[in-house]
Symmetry: C2
Subunit: 398 residues, 2 copies
């Protein structure tokens, strides 16, 4: 990154390619804080308004950093510190149920009204599936539910467990479009309440149930287990426990689908800023960390799809919507909160675009006989589901 | 396994479910050899005709064993020995180019006439792709080439490297159906010669070239790199070198497809009998062993398809064809050779049906931008290729 001092205490930074960014620090100490711990410092300084962007925007600035300061390689103090940080995240205290509840509450018990400011109308708070890059967020989130439903290869009447059900959108989709009986579990009371209301209003209160439960507290047997965007909260100490529980809850000829942010490199620490301000104990797993736990749980990977661009696009939509509704968010939560969320959304988008973050979508079985021998059913099912959605839509209209 | 002594020196073995198998040992020492080292002993005794099957056939006997003596778990002498064996296979001498040549020659320099006795008419010596379980072997091998071609997402004129090209069937398919320019490399002179003849007769000598080369000796840059059923010979010491070479040979926006027998568990030793009699230095990798090498090479997994039933079906076809042509094989190579091959085919089928063996089909990229953002193209491409095949077939007839 080429740094050029401009007039006064401002900088223009760039790597020779547009966009360039201009920064003005509010105080001298801010510069030092940034140098001392860039990962934590940048987010904190931004939240506190201790630097001002006089050229470009936050996303440009973060993208510039991400493009130029990629994961450190080779020996050195930074690598050693990163390794220690990584070991601490992996070997430090695991996320026990009580702590999991507090963590979930920290983020997901914000009023749904806030999430409505940037999510799609179904409140899907995970990577969408863009059939084309120009699809709307609403269309892409619907396509995500369809894509996952196809991979679950559901038959009507089958029992599904949704671990980390959010505000219930996927559970309702699986009941409405596939005739499944769904139990969705969450640790956030706000999510539970809205999910239950939605099941009620959709007339699905008999087939879709929601509960405030940790994955370790669920019992019974399910034909399908699905978990979208929850694994990031499990923590590496509990990967074995998580997959063992999935295997236990899954019928012998069952199918599980686990969709998580991850990466394909060696285990690496998750941003300390993210863990402090957004997701307490959040940890982004490597494929290498997941594979051994799957093997020990007796779950076989039938299919692994790796999505990257999809989350970058999703985050771009969220960021734009958040920006458009910033005043409303500011009114409820204040300026600092908004800045923290802006930073989180922009930094996450950069992580997918430049820093090796991907979504790992695992289709898991206890026995390969649980699924057809080729993937052709996926495409047939997606087409069938599209037709069902169409029928339901025109039924709802008429 | 319930063992019941029958009259005289014969046994009937079974686990309470049919089929049962009856064995008669030729001599007392044979029984001891089997007990001392079952993995090596059973194959060697069968090859030497030192036991006779008086009930059931070899496949039934092996399946019975595989169903009942699964991978040892927990501590104990057997586990310790297996761990040592596994370490030796992983940490012992790597497969240097000269040794790789000798290994390839041992198996693949057998006359193609022999392979014609049990392979399909295109001499595809790897897992076929059964669109339905009842498809013919010829149809399934054609579907395999189509499936792989679709995953390669080829454009006409693109350069493809096929590492371990066998008798050239895939290379010819990619040239003929996708308009690719292909370089196929093998270490077996017999394969090279026939592959070249086939390119010549197909009028493709200008676009398809074959060479006697180790993957470490290939230079240049390719839009696509494909390697089907060769990785099993690379050896764990060279996984890093193999993938680093693939990454080096691959254009920045290239796509690689590596298709290998593997498993999803912890690294485990490969049958010592198989390594002694069939594939010198052969080693069946775990997903966990491959993932770190891919990461170090900078190759990202875009898609991982796991096939199991397909290889069991393929081997069932090969075994049936081998049986039907046993007399011809015996005439050239003798009884002992035939028994070794029978054992190899039957044991391999059991490995896929009962022992966790799968085919790992990795689609790899240096940048995710190399591929469309959804997998929908796979299905469109397969349909397009089917139409091209049809056109070529009717053109060839007219």
């Amino acid at each position: 990154m080429e740094v050029r001092t401009s007039t006064g205490p401002a900088f223009v930074v760039g790597d020779g390619r547009p966009p360039f960014c201009g920064l003005r620090f509010a105080d001298k100490a801010a510069e030092w804080e940034l140098i001392r711990d860039p990962e934590m410092g940048l987010g904190e300084l931004y939240a506190d308004g201790r630097f001002e962007l006089i050229l470009g925007d936050l996303y440009n600035l973060l993208a510039l950093g991400a493009r130029n300061i990629v994961a450190p390689g080779g020996p050195g103090l930074l690598t050693a510190l990163r390794t220690l940080q990584s070991l601490w995240q992996r070997l430090g205290p695991g996320v026990a149920p009580g702590r999991a509840r507090a963590n979930a509450s920290h983020h997901y018990d914000l009023d749904a009204g806030f999430y409505r400011l940037f999510l799609d109308d179904d409140l899907q708070y995970s990577c969408a599936y863009f059939e084309t890059p120009s699809a709307s967020l609403e269309a892409a989130q619907l396509a995500k539910k369809r894509h996952i439903a196809a991979k679950l290869a559901l038959s009507p009447g089958q029992k599904v467990l949704d671990i980390g059900c959010g505000w219930g959108g996927l559970a309702l989709y699986l009941a409405q479009n596939c005739g499944a009986e769904v139990l969705g579990v969450t640790l956030a009371r706000e999510q539970l309440q809205l999910a239950r209301q939605r099941a009620q209003s959709a007339g699905l209160a008999d087939t879709v149930h929601f509960a405030l439960k940790d994955y370790r507290e669920v019992g019974g047997s399910f034909d399908r287990v699905v978990s979208i965007g929850m694994f990031e909260h499990v923590g590496p100490k509990n990967y074995d426990a998580f997959f063992a529980r999935v295997a236990e809850l899954l019928a012998e000829d069952g199918v599980a689908l686990v969709h998580t942010i991850g990466h394909l490199g060696a285990p690496a620490p998750t941003s300390s800023w993210l863990r402090k301000y957004i997701f307490p104990d959040g940890y982004i797993p490597s494929l290498m960390e997941i594979a051994p736990s799957l093997a020990r749980a007796g779950l076989a990977v039938a299919d692994l799809e790796v999505l990257r661009e999809h989350y970058a696009l999703t985050l771009e939509h969220w960021r734009a919507r958040f920006k458009a509704n910033r005043d409303a968010a500011r009114e409820i939560f204040g300026e600092r909160f908004c800045r923290i969320w802006e930073f989180y959304l922009a930094a996450s988008e950069c992580a997918f675009r430049y820093e090796g973050c991907v979504v790992l979508q695992f289709q898991l079985v206890r026995k390969f006989e649980a699924l057809p021998i080729t993937r052709d059913y996926l495409f047939r099912r997606e087409a069938e589901l599209r037709a069902v959605e169409e029928r339901l839509r025109s039924g709802a209209k008429s």
